[in-house]
Subunit: 544 residues, 2 copies
């Protein structure tokens, strides 16, 4: 399993030399994109998905080198190891089988000699049956009323993927259900939600793999106290999604309506297609739509696993990421969907990618020696154009992933302004922005000059159906793990969050002492932390 240090690889040095080549003025994007075959040569196109990297700062030679890097790092083998149940999460000695959650083949999928598929199929059937019973009124609240509000209690990977998907597919929600997310331990999150729900018609879904997450436990306690205060029985209003055998796995308990299982071989940030997303989305959209989403994800999984490297969209996207990050030196990347329903994609990928690849150490424990994960941010276009695109055009450059949708979810508004529909106006901008960034414009007035040569990719989806959205979800998962496989890091652990948790536990103990004994003076805390503790307890900034 020992791999060479990246920077020692001959191919890495060749790529470094290639930077000089791409920096030559004749390789400015304004020239590269003039070639009539540019788009054909630098895009992956199927009828369901376009990945266009024609406006990235690469030429044929660059791509040939990047494909050599892909082979050198055995990317296809690593990906296929992952999806076939090998314990690729070495530090935690686990498989990473999120792809199993949308596997619809009849084949067994063995992990430690045990077929995991029957249980995955059983959970799908459970979600289908449960959501149907809620929808047809067989499962109702304590007072006999049908559920109209779903509150998902969960944070991080138990929240962001589902939030992305539910927002993307909100137009298909016909079940008269409102979905709320209680993620933050901040009491404002809870306080605001209970102003918006009708408790008799509310189903709470508590999602936590370990069932020990501090935020989720605190919010569940608030929710249970609130419901009890309204005289409503938890047996009729609380559902859990958790690992088998966790403290929350109590399907027949007196304070629980149902429990659904998640697995330790599916990491939180990759779990949107497991019961983590499946339970809330089946309720919000209907189980069938959730299954269509799974099938879209499955089709992209197959592409990511089977397409040759030079035709493999997420693999090429990962190579481009590494090229932009490590060779061209861009530390950040924006995701700009020209589709308002994808407004939560960037926050989801921000977690998926930054938590997976924000590492400094290889799977074998050595320093990686180069920067790994970059900063991911983004807002929908055209909104972003009126926000931070000034900087994108004339300030510090950063690569952008544009996303377009050919056919919108809403088609009943043919009205035109300036001769175009709203959807056409949106596309006029989607088409223009990558072009403007690439070509730039000279001007005698320096304040009105645009240097251009600012790279971007564009992804097109035919529509925002559940299948297409599932495909997009899987694309970003595959891109993320391919990046990690190039760097040789483990995209499935997150030891970087442990220190903060440990210190928070110490501070919590200080608070507990103070709650019990008003005279407690926080002697154990460092001087700065002590000030903050005093500010909190004295309810004043000028506490001393």
């Amino acid at each position: 399993m020992k791999q060479s240090t990246l920077t020692e690889l001959p191919i890495w040095r060749k790529l470094s030399a290639q930077v000089l080549e791409m920096n030559r003025s004749e390789n400015h994007l304004k020239h590269l994109i003039q070639h009539s075959e540019r788009l054909t040569d630098f895009s992956i196109k199927t009828d369901k998905f376009l990945y266009d990297f024609s406006r990235q700062r690469v030429n044929g030679e660059t791509m040939a080198l990047l494909f050599d890097l892909a082979q050198e790092r055995n990317l296809s083998a690593q990906f296929n190891n992952m999806i076939s149940g090998t314990k690729v999460n070495l530090t935690e000695n686990r498989a990473a089988l999120h792809t199993a959650s949308r596997n619809f083949s009849d084949q067994p999928l063995l992990m430690d000699g045990h077929d995991v598929m029957p249980e995955i199929r059983r959970i799908r059937a459970d979600m289908k049956a449960f959501s149907e019973k809620v929808h047809n009124g067989n499962i109702v609240g304590t007072t006999g009323k049908a559920f109209e509000h779903i509150v998902v209690i969960g944070i991080g990977g138990s929240y962001l993927g589902t939030a992305f998907l539910s927002e993307a597919l909100k137009a298909f929600s016909e079940k008269k259900m409102t979905l709320h997310y209680l993620a933050n331990v901040d009491i404002h999150n809870f306080g605001q939600i209970v102003r918006e729900i009708d408790p008799e018609k509310t189903l709470w879904i508590v999602i936590s793999k370990s069932y020990t997450t501090a935020e989720t436990a605190a919010n569940e306690a608030q929710a249970r106290a609130f419901m009890a205060g309204k005289g409503l029985s938890p047996k009729h209003h609380f559902v859990t999604v958790t690992a088998k055998g966790s403290p929350g796995d109590r399907p027949n308990s007196a304070d629980m309506l149902a429990s659904f299982h998640m697995f330790d071989f599916i990491g939180g940030r990759y779990s949107a297609t497991s019961a983590v997303g499946g339970v809330p989305l089946s309720l919000f959209l209907g189980y069938d739509r959730f299954e269509h989403l799974l099938k879209g994800a499955e089709s992209m999984d197959r592409h990511a696993a089977e397409a040759p490297i030079f035709q493999n969209a997420p693999l090429i996207a990962a190579l481009i990421s590494i090229w932009n990050n490590n060779f061209l030196g861009y530390p950040a990347q924006a995701i700009i969907p020209y589709a308002e329903p994808l407004c939560k994609l960037a926050p989801h990928v921000q977690q998926l990618n930054m938590e997976s690849n924000g590492k400094s150490v290889s799977v074998t424990g050595e320093a990686v020696g180069v920067d790994t994960g970059g900063i991911i941010f983004g807002e929908p276009g055209t909104n972003a154009q009126h926000s931070f695109f000034q900087l994108a055009h004339q300030g510090r450059p950063f690569p952008i992933e544009f996303i377009g949708v050919v056919r919108p979810q809403f088609t009943q508004y043919p009205l035109t302004s300036k001769g175009v529909t709203n959807h056409q106006e949106l596309w006029a901008n989607l088409i223009s922005q990558p072009h403007a960034l690439a070509v730039g414009r000279d001007s005698d007035d320096p304040a009105k000059s645009f240097s251009g040569n600012r790279p971007s990719s564009t992804i097109l989806l035919p529509d925002l159906s559940p299948e297409s959205v599932g495909r997009l979800l899987s694309f970003y998962e595959a891109k993320t793990v391919y990046e990690a496989f190039i760097w040789g890091i483990n995209p499935f652990d997150q030891f970087g969050v442990e220190l903060g948790k440990k210190l928070a536990s110490d501070i919590r103990s200080e608070m507990v002492h103070k709650n019990q004994n008003e005279a407690h003076a926080f002697e154990n805390a460092d001087p700065i932390s002590r000030y903050y503790l005093n500010a909190l307890f004295s309810r004043s900034i000028t506490c001393y």
Copy 2:
């Protein structure tokens, strides 16, 4: 007005040398924060606002040099020029008088010899009168029903500031009004909103200074057609906020209920305290709360203008930004409020700062010679801890601005988990994260090592009252312009968005031709753009 090139300044070279000093191991943050006076020496504290930079990678010498830089660049004089009406927006020959919108003094404020204050006071009175009439039922919709939905049509600066403020103060909304934002020209934005409103009870506020913004015009057209289709008169449902004399300035028109003025001396991204924010926020929260917000902003304006540089919170925050950006080399900065109601602060500051300072050319037209504005992103804590904090702790470092609130808006939930309330749990994390980032932790296992020395600031507010939120808004505005004044750039123009607009106009023309003549083949478009045009019109990715 000609300033020396930054990098030629002796103080700039001294600061560059100071980097070596701060990189010495004894200046690791884990050592610096041990000094008992560290917090006192490296924070600005009033009873209304704390700016704590004790966990930034600075020592006394660094700060002394930064204060020299502040003096060298005449920061205080530049700020005072701005607030007193000088035309500091040189490229557009305009003043930048956003501070006037929350000026409550009795003094005249002359611009070109003309006192602008009477008109500002008149608009405040108009907003007060209008919102009261709506609230008491003197102004109702066509069918006599009271308004319950407000839809703000506006984008960029006509949207993000108001969205930040309305979200921050939602707990104080007692007027039974729901606020919607129609910013994106994407038809999904419009389609979703009209599913959520009751048209008879809906008031539309169209906000555009020039009244020529393409997105806003397209959305207004959709809204008017929709209301007409329901038989509702625009005279009872449409209000505008626009510049005097713009095409939307028609207070007595047959298709308009009222018009409110904004001024060319207040830029969009600085306009939240003008009628841009004032009209929707007065309706949503009541005019008095909006005025309290203005008074909080005014108090921070005075601090920013009058406090000596070594006690001036936004000025010091700007110096720290420049230090982190240009000297320590951090290209991005995160804003992490431990307060869910501040969830829209980062998107607002993302626009405010990146559009203001994403420039490469000085006010006098020379290349700045150093990087200017950085990338701003952020999500609320503790959510962010479960998203991208892995990278913050063990990946590529970036400075963070933490924000805490001493007294929450919701105080009726005393329930504890693990011995602490939700608010205390939140603070346990707010206290621990900056400390963990600063000190790090050594480990024999490289995957569990934390290098530490990762800088952050912490801002504390006593509460989330309108005053406190107004103070925070003004803090970020002042910080942004102080950064610009150091770099010598103009934070009030945005020529970087012009090229994209121009190219979008060309593409729109292509679309209009195609709408009129199906045979039009987009001969004028470049080959890549032509593919996208064909994909849109053929409704297929594989169009050729």
